[in-house]
């Protein structure tokens, strides 16, 4: 008798399935693909920040040998507005509103010819008054960025919170507004013993995906369009491309080659994508359009810059009483996802800690600056930066230990917040205590306070910050679901067709693991197909830390259906009750003894080649039990919520202003660890991305122009600069999560800037509310603080 013991892949260190190809250079990204007959597309961008286009002359460009098409807005009268706000056309015809604006495009036989053709295009501009300071956008007489209504006739006759503004709002430079309220903030303030009130300034950073943006568009003879695209939301884009191009969505196929980094940057459609389609249509040839790195810096989205005022109060015992948050979002010239970051920001303001009274307001204003998209954390880095600094400020004013202050206000499992979020599992308390104990937070905090005035220019300090983020999807679209098709062949090899996209985060591997867990097969018996809208079932996209949770539950659902079918057939063959059977290591076994009864492959063949000839193929669509927010932004938008606390230890050189991150101790409520190697990688990468946001990265935009469009001057963190990391996983075993897991892709980046700010303050006594903490800024802050106060 062969006995097969029970085994599990959950929680183990599983190498990514796509890693061998990637480590040996065999993976073909969009940049590496060339189709027969392919032309190269290139875009002429605006030379002005804000101007009317008086004249465009493309005759010299068209005459250049090797040029197949030169297009301006006049050549594509059928183009329609695109993006979240539907407030821009792919090719701009009458007016440019930012330096990234697309004025003309060329398709040529080589990249070099395309570039040479761009240089031959003559554009005559008439400059308009420029608006680059968002705080001046609402002033009477400010230059108007969108005077005309580009959008199709809208049923909205007034501005609705959380929806793009209409033409009237645009004439006042208002792109979007958000308002949220709970309780009575005046009553909250009246019962406060202390109140803090500060302005915070959050800067521009950008994704810096190592693989630059690119797309290949091709039409077949029947008019079907295939896009080889880096999108993170293939099914939403299929529909949106159809709208922009006036096509039947059924004739659009999106294939996603492996993606060289996403981080939220590929959630919206950007003009270059329909422009590549226009060029393909005009030439009848496949057109490949790939950015240079400089273009990537100038013409891809940024993280949302925010000017934020926060006012918070607490009672003497540390209990929070109220919060009032107002933000001014610099929308840039057009509306993409950056404008909608308040959806996430208000959750942190209202519900990271228990606050009875709260109000939140955002105005997103148009300027001639670059426009912001979604970026890992989606507004939460900005909100957490303010909230967690004020937690320290309140604690200091009250003479309470900052950890104690947080524990006193921490959310608990079972809580339903005034905003409607239901925390079925909540590890915040364990995150706080674990991170504090593992880092020696209390002792180090006290020691640093005592040493602030001691001699020496190298000051150590610790700071902590916690975060709340969706961990079970986010129901912002009509559906937040994911579909799976699963088939098992005659040799017990599974093909898992999933709507969930892989962007390097490792979803493909986790989904395969979850299927193996159900079907008792080895990891190499699973092939994941996840990149072709003609094959894979619908999914809303890879965003909001949702893929492991939603795609995972969908894959488990399909696998369980297959398992039920297999066990029912096996029970008949073996003459054993279904409930007494299990699948292990590619065999049907007796659950109690582990006795192997038959191989899975043999059973499948006997099903297939029988009188009732049958294949094992299943489908499953998982829709999380979350709800849409109502018009007041209340609702349980996620099926689970992720929590974390990070403690950052810094060394500040007070002579130079250099801030060095020494150590990060993180405690993350991840529900359950599925792939330890993968989740560690997500946390470590997120910590360093958060470090960059806090300390080194700064996209300098002056008068609407990006001044540092390259890695020489835009400083990403390099290997020698990373802190020591000590990461702890809090496993709260979420009841809805796949095997208990929650989504955590965005979480690790969120706390870093806030915790670093608190650590700098602990080390030096100086609080800086303006990111990033570059040497110059820190030096000026330290030395201004040290100077005697000026007479009024």
């Amino acid at each position: 008798m062969t006995v097969i013991e029970k085994s599990s892949l959950i929680g183990r260190r599983i190498a990514k399935l796509d890693a061998p190809e990637k480590a040996s250079g065999q993976t073909r990204y969009v940049h590496d693909l060339d189709l027969p007959g392919q032309l190269h597309g290139s875009i002429l961008r605006s030379a002005r920040v804000h101007a009317r286009i008086r004249r465009i002359d493309v005759s010299k460009a068209r005459a250049l040998p090797g040029v197949h098409a030169v297009l301006t807005a006049a050549d594509v009268p059928y183009q329609r507005p695109l993006g979240v706000g539907k407030d821009q056309l792919p090719l701009k015809g009458d007016k440019v509103r930012s330096r990234r604006d697309e004025v003309a495009a060329v398709a040529a036989e080589t990249v070099e010819i395309a570039e040479a053709a761009l240089a031959l295009i003559e554009v005559e501009y008439e400059d308009l008054p420029v608006l680059t300071d968002p705080s001046k956008a609402l002033e009477p007489g400010a230059p108007v960025i969108h005077g005309e209504n580009l959008a199709p006739p809208s049923p909205h006759d007034s501005l609705k919170p959380g929806e793009p503004g209409d033409a009237e709002a645009h004439r006042h430079n208002v792109a979007m507004t958000f308002d949220y309220a709970q309780g009575d903030v005046a009553a909250g303030e009246a019962e406060s013993d202390v109140v803090v009130d500060d302005w915070f300034r959050l800067h521009y950073v950008t994704h810096c995906c190592m693989g630059v943006s690119g797309v290949i568009a091709e039409f077949d003879r029947s008019g079907n369009l295939t896009l080889h695209s880096n999108t993170q939301v293939p099914f939403l884009h299929k529909r949106e491309f159809a709208e922009i191009l006036g096509m039947d969505p059924g004739r659009i196929r999106i294939i996603q080659p492996p993606i060289g980094g996403g981080f939220g940057s590929k959630l919206d459609i950007y003009p270059f994508e329909p422009i590549a389609v226009f060029l393909a249509k005009a030439t009848g040839r496949p057109v490949k359009l790939v950015f240079s790195r400089e273009e990537e810096f100038v013409a891809s989205p940024t993280r949302q810059p925010v000017l934020l005022r926060l006012r918070s109060g607490a009672k003497r015992d540390g209990t929070l009483t109220f919060r009032v948050c107002e933000t001014l979002h610099d929308n840039g010239a057009y509306t993409s996802w950056g404008a909608t970051t308040p959806f996430v920001m208000m959750q942190t303001i209202s519900s990271l800690y228990r606050v009875p009274h709260c109000s939140y307001h955002t105005t997103a204003v148009y300027t001639n600056n670059p426009y912001a998209g979604s970026f890992r954390g989606y507004g939460n880095l900005q909100a957490t930066f303010a909230v967690e600094q004020q937690m320290d400020e309140l604690a200091e004013k009250l003479g309470i230990d900052p950890l104690e202050m947080r524990l006193r206000n921490a959310q608990e499992p079972g809580e339903v917040t005034p905003q409607g979020m239901h925390f079925r599992t909540c590890g915040l308390r364990q995150c706080l205590t674990t991170a504090a104990e593992a880092s020696g937070y209390r002792e180090k905090h006290r020691a640093a306070l005592a040493a602030q005035k001691a001699p020496g220019h190298r000051k150590r300090g610790v700071g902590m910050a916690s975060m709340l983020h969706v961990g079970g999807g986010a129901k912002i679209y009509p559906s937040d679901g994911c579909g799976t098709i699963l088939k098992i062949d005659d040799f017990a090899h599974v093909t898992l067709m999933t709507g969930a996209s892989e962007i390097g985060q490792g979803s493909e591997t986790v989904l395969a693991q979850l299927v193996c867990e159900e079907l008792g097969i080895p990891l190499d018996a699973v092939t994941v197909v996840n990149n072709d809208t003609d094959i894979t079932p619908w999914d809303v996209g890879v965003h909001a830390s949702r893929t492991t949770f939603i795609g995972g539950n969908s894959a488990i659902g399909a696998a369980r259906k297959a398992k039920a079918k297999i066990l029912a057939a096996a029970a008949k063959v073996a003459g054993v009750a279904e409930a007494e059977l299990e699948l292990r290591a590619g065999h049907i076994v007796r659950a109690a003894s582990g006795e192997a009864l038959m191989s899975l492959a043999k059973l499948l063949r006997s099903l297939h080649f029988s009188d009732k000839a049958e294949l094992v193929m299943t489908t499953h669509y998982y829709e999380p039990p979350s709800r849409h927010q109502d018009k007041a932004f209340k609702g349980d938008v996620s099926a689970a919520y992720a929590w974390a606390t990070q403690v950052v230890e810094v060394e500040v050189d007070t002579d130079t202003g250099v801030v060095r991150l020494v150590k990060v101790t993180g405690a993350h409520d991840v529900g359950r660890v599925l792939n330890r190697l993968g989740i560690e990688g997500q946390i470590e990468g997120g910590i360093v991305m958060g470090q960059g946001y806090a300390v080194t990265e700064d996209l300098i935009v002056e008068d609407g122009v990006v001044r540092n469009p390259g890695f020489r001057d835009y400083k990403l963190v390099t290997a020698p600069e990373i802190p020591e990391m000590d990461i702890h996983f809090i496993e709260t075993m979420d009841g809805e999560g796949p095997q208990g897991a929650k989504g955590v892709g965005e979480a690790p980046a969120i706390c870093m800037a806030a915790a670093t700010a608190n650590a700098i303050c602990n080390a030096t006594g100086v609080r800086i509310r303006d990111l990033p903490f570059t040497p110059e800024k820190v030096y000026r802050a330290l030395h201004a603080a040290a100077a005697p106060a000026k007479a009024p």
Partner: protein, 157 residues
């Protein structure tokens, strides 16, 4: 055409002849002329290391080298490095240690690590970090890349 030139060099162990433009980078030659797309473009100015190859035993950003300067030299790219024991160990270690996420920087880091480990056979973790400080990675936070290089340095060939 006068601005083209024919050059000869050794590429991944094979004597190779290529016709290249005078203004072409070694990176463009590898990708567009030789069809070897494992070497990546990510910045074009020697700042990110994604295009790292080994030329006569030295790691080079191929975007900063003219193709014509490859004449009579010995080039190793990611497509060839796995045939050498250290290269194969590195590729395996990058997989096993979780050093690969989106993977776009990975070929360049493997090439740099190969060159650097040959000169520093028993490195500390801090030394490894300095050895790859010219390679940018946006996904991993470098920890697992250092793990992989450390593991490859210890494993027997």
């Amino acid at each position: 055409m006068s601005h083209m030139r024919e050059i000869e060099f050794e590429l991944n162990g094979v004597r190779t002849r290529a016709t290249v433009r005078l203004d072409m980078s070694a990176l463009a030659m590898l990708r567009d002329v030789m069809g070897l797309t494992g070497t990546k473009y990510a910045c074009g100015e020697g700042e990110c290391g994604a295009c790292t190859i080994i030329v006569d035993g030295v790691s080079v950003c191929s975007c900063l080298m003219f193709a014509v300067d490859c004449e009579d030299r010995t080039l190793t790219t990611i497509e060839g490095v796995g045939r050498e024991p250290l290269g194969a160990r590195l590729e395996r270690a990058f997989v096993d240690c979780g050093a690969v996420q989106c993977g776009f920087c990975t070929p360049g880091v493997v090439m740099q690590a190969k060159h650097w480990l040959e000169a520093h056979p028993n490195p500390t973790r801090d030394e490894i970090k300095r050895g790859i400080e010219g390679n940018l990675c946006r996904c991993t936070g470098y920890v697992k890349i250092v793990d992989a290089i450390e593991a490859a340095s210890r494993a027997e060939g």
